[in-house]
C-alpha cells in the first residue's frame, strides 16, 4: 500500500525540520493548555488530569473491595466465627465481587488507557475530552453512591452475577437488588462512553506515520478491549434493564411460571460476563507486552503473533459464555462445542505467555520491580489458566462448580492476569507522571509480600474446594477438615494486604504529581513515545513515526520533538487541537479543534447519577427533575462544540496544509456516532434474542401475534423515516435552506408509528400477561427510548439551524442527527417485523 488518502509519504522526509522555531510558540501552547486552579479542577477535561483522577478512584475501589475480602477471610478463618452475620456476609461477598469487577478492574484499565494512550500515540488529547470527563464523573459519583449502600445495610446480596429467581421480587423484596441493577447499569454506560473515546482515539489520532503495524501493543490491546466493550456491555445493560422492569412493573421476563425463563438471564449475563474476563485481561496483557521488552532489553518476540492473539481472543471469547452454564442442563451438543471453544480460547493467551517468556529468554532481563511483577504475573496467570482448562471439561466442572476451587481459579486468573500487571505498570509508568520514581528496595518487599501472600491465600482454596467446601457460605462446622486450610488462606490474605499497604506508604513517600513538567522521566530506558518529554499539551511537536521503538532507533528524536521540529509545533488556530490521521497508515488528514474545560460534563454526570439513585429509592419526581436537568446539561456541553473557526486550513509544519474541519465518514464525529449506533443495535439485538429464546423455551405460553399484513403500513412508515433522514443530507448538500425539514418530520413520525404498533399488540396481549408480552413490550420500550432521543436530536438540530451555525461546509451535527434518525427507522422496522414473525 503506497497511500491511503492520497497523502504523499515522501512529505514525511521533510522532518525533522532544521533551525529554531519562532519565539512564543511554546508559550502559546502553554496558554491554551493551561493548568486548572481552585474550583477549575472540577471542570478539567485534559487527559493528564482526568486519567489521574480516574486511576486514583479505581484504585480506591480496589482498596475498599480488598478490605471486604479481608473481612470475609476473618470470618472464615475458623469454624463458627461471629464477625459477619449471615445476611451481612451475603452483602459483603456480593459487593466484593461486584466492586472488584465493575468498579475496579474495568475502570482501572480504561483509566490507564485515558492516561497513557494520548502519550503513546503522541496525540494532544483523546478526541472527545469532555466525554472522558463525563465518563469519569459518572463512574465516580455513581460508584461511591453504590458503595455507600453497604453502610446503610442495603447493599445487594445476590452474588456478583445476580441470578433470578433469587433476585426476583419474590425472593429479594428489598431495594438491595435495585441498587445493583440501576447502579451497575449506569456504570456500564460510563464504560461504553470510555470505549467510544478509546476506539476513535486509537484509530484516528495516532502520530503521523504510525501505521497499524507500528502501533504499540498496548494500543492494540486497548482497541480490542474497547471493541469488546461495545459488543459485550449492551447485553448486561439490557439484562439489568429487564430485571429491573420485572421487579418494578411485574413484566415476567425471568419467571418460569408465567412464560419467562431464569436461564435467559444467565445467557444475557454471561454473554457479557465471559468476554468481561478478557476485557480485563487484554489491556493488562498489553501493559505486560510494553514492560517486558524494556525490562528484558530486547525487542518483543513475536509482535505479529501477539497482535493476532489479541484479535483472536476478542473473537473467540464471545463463543464461550455458556461454559458458566454447564450445570443448567444444556443440550449435549451445545455443551460440547462450548467446551471446545473454551479450550480453544486458551491458545491465544498461551501465545502471549510464550512470547513474554521468549522475550525474557533472548534479552538480558533486569530484576527490577516492574520486572518482578511481570514475571510473577506470568506464574500466577498460568496457574489460573491451567485450572481454567480443567473446569472447561464438563464432567470436572460438575464436581467443582460453586466450590472454593472456582474461587481459587478466578483469583489466580484475575490477580495474575490483571492485578500483578497493574502493579508492574504502576512501578513502570509512575516516573512518567511523578517527580520521583517509587523505591526499588521497597518494591521488592511489596512484590515478595504480594506474591507470597497471594499463593498462600489462594492455593489452599483449590484443596478446600475439592474437599467440598461450597463458595458463598458464611461459616462452616468444625471437623469438616477445612479448618487448617482456611486459617492458612486468611494468613495469606493478610500478607497480601501487607504488601499493598507497603505500596501505599511508598506512594505517600515518593509520589509527587508533576502534570506540567519535571517528571522523573525515562528511568527504565524504554523506546516508545510516552517517554518523550511532555507538558500539559503532551509533546511540543508531534513526531513522524518510522518504527515501533522510535526512541531506541532515533537518538535525536526527543530533542527534535522538544524543539518543535515535527508536526504542529504551535497552536495553529489558537485553540486546543490535535492531528487526525487515517486509520490504517496514519496519514495526516485534518486538524481537530478540541473543546476546552467545562463544568457541564460534571453537572451532567451528577444529574444522571441523581436520576438513577432516585429511581432506586423510588423518588420518581426527583428522578424526573434530575433527568431533565441532566439532558439540559448535555445540551449545554454540546452547545459550544462544532462551531466554525475562521481558518479553513492551516500549516501543520514544513508547509503541509490540512483542513480544520471535515464532514462525512472521514470525521471523528461520524465514527463516534457509528459506534453509538452499534451499541444501540446490540442492545436491540439482545432483546430480539430474548424474545426468540422465550419462544423456543416456553412455547406453551405463546399467543399468536397480530397478522404480519397489518404491519405493512407501519413498515412503510419506517422506510419513509429512513428516506427522510437520507433526503435531508442530500438536500443540505445541494444547498437547500429548508433541508432539515424532512428529518424533523421523520423524527416526529417515528413515535407515531410505534404508537400504532403498540395499539395492535395491546389487543392481543399485555406486558404483564406473560413472557411473550413482556419481551415484545420491551422491544417497544427500547424503540420508544431511541425515538425520544431522535426527537431531542432533531430539536437540537433545529435550534442550531436557527442560530445559523449549520453552514454548507460545517454540518456534522446535521449528518449525525440524520444518521441517528435513519437508525431509529431501521430499528423500528426490524422490531415490528421480528415481533410478529416469532411464533406466527
Amino acid at each position: 500500500m503506497k497511500s491511503e488518502t492520497g497523502f504523499d509519504p515522501d512529505l514525511f522526509n521533510r522532518f525533522p525540520t532544521q533551525g529554531d522555531r519562532p519565539e512564543g510558540e511554546e508559550e502559546g501552547l502553554k496558554r491554551v493548555w493551561c493548568a486548572p486552579k481552585g474550583w477549575e479542577y472540577l471542570t478539567v477535561v485534559n487527559n493528564n488530569y482526568v486519567g489521574i483522577y480516574y486511576l486514583g478512584t479505581a484504585f480506591l475501589f480496589f482498596l475498599l473491595a480488598g478490605v471486604l475480602g479481608l473481612l470475609m477471610r476473618v470470618q472464615l478463618a475458623a469454624p463458627l466465627m461471629n464477625v459477619l452475620p449471615q445476611a451481612t456476609y451475603n452483602q459483603v461477598f456480593t459487593m466484593h465481587g461486584t466492586v472488584m469487577m465493575f468498579l475496579f478492574a474495568v475502570p482501572m484499565v480504561e483509566a490507564a488507557g485515558v492516561l497513557l494512550l494520548p502519550q503513546m500515540l503522541a496525540a494532544r488529547d483523546l478526541p472527545f475530552p469532555r466525554l472522558s470527563a463525563y465518563a469519569f464523573w459518572a463512574y465516580a459519583v455513581g460508584g461511591l453512591a453504590f458503595f455507600g449502600s453497604l453502610f446503610i445495610g442495603l447493599a445487594p446480596d445476590g452474588g456478583w452475577f445476580m441470578y433470578p429467581p433469587l433476585t426476583s421480587k419474590a425472593y429479594s423484596p428489598g431495594i438491595n437488588t435495585d441498587f445493583w441493577l440501576l447502579g451497575i447499569g449506569f456504570i456500564e454506560i460510563s464504560a461504553i462512553a470510555g470505549a467510544v473515546e478509546i476506539i476513535v482515539g486509537v484509530l484516528r489520532t495516532r502520530a503521523p506515520g504510525m501505521s497499524l503495524d507500528k502501533m504499540p501493543i498496548f494500543a492494540w490491546a486497548m482497541l480490542v478491549f474497547a471493541v469488546m466493550i461495545v459488543i459485550a456491555f449492551p447485553s448486561v445493560i439490557l439484562a439489568t434493564l429487564l430485571l429491573e422492569i420485572e421487579r418494578a412493573f411485574n413484566w415476567p421476563f425471568f419467571d418460569a411460571t408465567r412464560g419467562g425463563d431464569p436461564v435467559l438471564w444467565q445467557h444475557l449475563f454471561w454473554f457479557f460476563g465471559h468476554p468481561e474476563v478478557y476485557i480485563i485481561f487484554l489491556p493488562a496483557a498489553g501493559m505486560m507486552s510494553m514492560i517486558i521488552p524494556t525490562v528484558a532489553r530486547a525487542e518483543l518476540v513475536g509482535y505479529r503473533l501477539i497482535v493476532l492473539a489479541m484479535i483472536a481472543t476478542g473473537f473467540i471469547s464471545f463463543g464461550v459464555w455458556a461454559h458458566h452454564m454447564f450445570a443448567t442442563g444444556l443440550p449435549p451438543m451445545t455443551a460440547g462445542f462450548f467446551s471446545a471453544a473454551s479450550m480453544a480460547v486458551s491458545l491465544p493467551a498461551g501465545i502471549q505467555v510464550f512470547s513474554w517468556i521468549a522475550t525474557f529468554a533472548v534479552g538480558k532481563p533486569r530484576f527490577n520491580t516492574p520486572g518482578l511483577f511481570a514475571m510473577g504475573s506470568v506464574v500466577i496467570f498460568v496457574t489460573g489458566g491451567l485450572t481454567g482448562v480443567m473446569v472447561a471439561l464438563v464432567p470436572f466442572d460438575w464436581q467443582a462448580h460453586d466450590t472454593y476451587f472456582i474461587v481459587a481459579h478466578l483469583h489466580y486468573v484475575l490477580i495474575g492476569g490483571m492485578v500483578f500487571p497493574l502493579f508492574a505498570a504502576m512501578y513502570y509508568w509512575i516516573p512518567m507522571v511523578s517527580r520521583r520514581p517509587l523505591s526499588e528496595r521497597w518494591g521488592r518487599w511489596v512484590f515478595g509480600l504480594m506474591f507470597g501472600g497471594m499463593n498462600i491465600a489462594f492455593m489452599p482454596m483449590h484443596l478446600s474446594g475439592l474437599m467440598g467446601m461450597p463458595r458463598r457460605i458464611y461459616t462452616y462446622l468444625p471437623g469438616s477438615g477445612w479448618d487448617t486450610l482456611n486459617l492458612i488462606s486468611t494468613l495469606g490474605a493478610f500478607m497480601l494486604a501487607a504488601g499493598v499497604l507497603l505500596f501505599l506508604i511508598d506512594m505517600a513517600r515518593n509520589f509527587r504529581l508533576a502534570p506540567e513538567e519535571g517528571e522523573a522521566g525515562n528511568v527504565f530506558g524504554a523506546g516508545t513515545l510516552e517517554w518523550l518529554p511532555t507538558g500539559l499539551y503532551s509533546t511540543r511537536s508531534i513526531p513522524v513515526v518510522k518504527s515501533r521503538e522510535p526512541l531506541w532507533d532515533d537518538p535525536n528524536i526527543s530533542e527534535d520533538v522538544e524543539r518543535g521540529r515535527y508536526f504542529l509545533p504551535r497552536t495553529a488556530t489558537g485553540r486546543r487541537e490535535t492531528i487526525v490521521t487515517s486509520p490504517l497508515l496514519a496519514e495526516p488528514q485534518y486538524v481537530q479543534i478540541m473543546p476546552g474545560p467545562s463544568v457541564w460534563p460534571f453537572a451532567a454526570a451528577l444529574f444522571t447519577a441523581g436520576f438513577f439513585l432516585a429511581l432506586t429509592v423510588q423518588a420518581y419526581l426527583f428522578a424526573l427533575v434530575s433527568g431533565v436537568l441532566g439532558i439540559l446539561a448535555v445540551l449545554c456541553w454540546l452547545a459550544d462544540t462544532d462551531l466554525p473557526v475562521p481558518e479553513n486550513d492551516v500549516d501543520i509544519g514544513a508547509g503541509i496544509r490540512v483542513p480544520t474541519y471535515v464532514t462525512g465518514p472521514q470525521s471523528h464525529g461520524w465514527w463516534a456516532m457509528m459506534i453509538l449506533i452499534v451499541v444501540m443495535g446490540m442492545i436491540f439485538a439482545m432483546a430480539l434474542f430474548s424474545l426468540a429464546f422465550l419462544w423456543g423455551n416456553q412455547p406453551s405460553f405463546w399467543t399468536a401475534p397480530p397478522p404480519m399484513l397489518e404491519a405493512l403500513p407501519i413498515a412503510l412508515g419506517y422506510l419513509a423515516v429512513i428516506a427522510a433522514a437520507w433526503g435531508t443530507r442530500e438536500l443540505h448538500r445541494i444547498g437547500k435552506s429548508w433541508a432539515i425539514l424532512p428529518a424533523l418530520a421523520g423524527a416526529i413520525v417515528a413515535p407515531a408509528l410505534l404508537w400504532l404498533d403498540i395499539g395492535a399488540w395491546s389487543a392481543v396481549t399485555a406486558p404483564d400477561a406473560g413472557g411473550q408480552g413482556a419481551a415484545v413490550f420491551a422491544l417497544f420500550s427500547l424503540q420508544g427510548m431511541v425515538a425520544a432521543i431522535a426527537v431531542l436530536m432533531a430539536l437540537y438540530l433545529g435550534w442550531r439551524q436557527l442560530r445559523r451555525v449549520v453552514t454548507a461546509r460545517r454540518n456534522n451535527t446535521l449528518d449525525l442527527t440524520c444518521l441517528f434518525i435513519a437508525y431509529t427507522g431501521a430499528q423500528g422496522l426490524v422490531g415490528t417485523l421480528f415481533a410478529r414473525s416469532i411464533g406466527a
Binding site: 497499524l212 505479529r304 462445542f337
Partner: protein, 93 residues
Amino acid sequence: MKTWAILLGGLLVWTTHFFGLYAIAEIAPSRWITVLLTVPCLGVDAFLLLRGRRLEVRDTFAGWRRSIALGGVALSLVAVCWQALPPWFAGTE
C-alpha cells in the same frame, strides 16, 4: 474496508460457524446439518488461505497485513474443525 476484511477474514468465518452451530443446536440439533455448515466454512477458509498466500509483501505494512491474515485463517481452520467435533460425536441424527 478491504484491509479490515483481509485482517479479519478468517475470524469472521469462525464467528459464522460458531453462531451457526449455536443456532443448529438450539433449533434443530442434527449432525448432518452441522456437516452442511462446517464444510462450506472450511471451504471459505481454504480459499482465504490460498488468496492470502498470494497477497503482496511490497512494504512492511503489506507484509504485516499478510501474516496477520494468514495467521487468522490458520487459527480459524483449526478452531472450526475442533468445535465441529463434539457436535459430530454428541449430535443426534
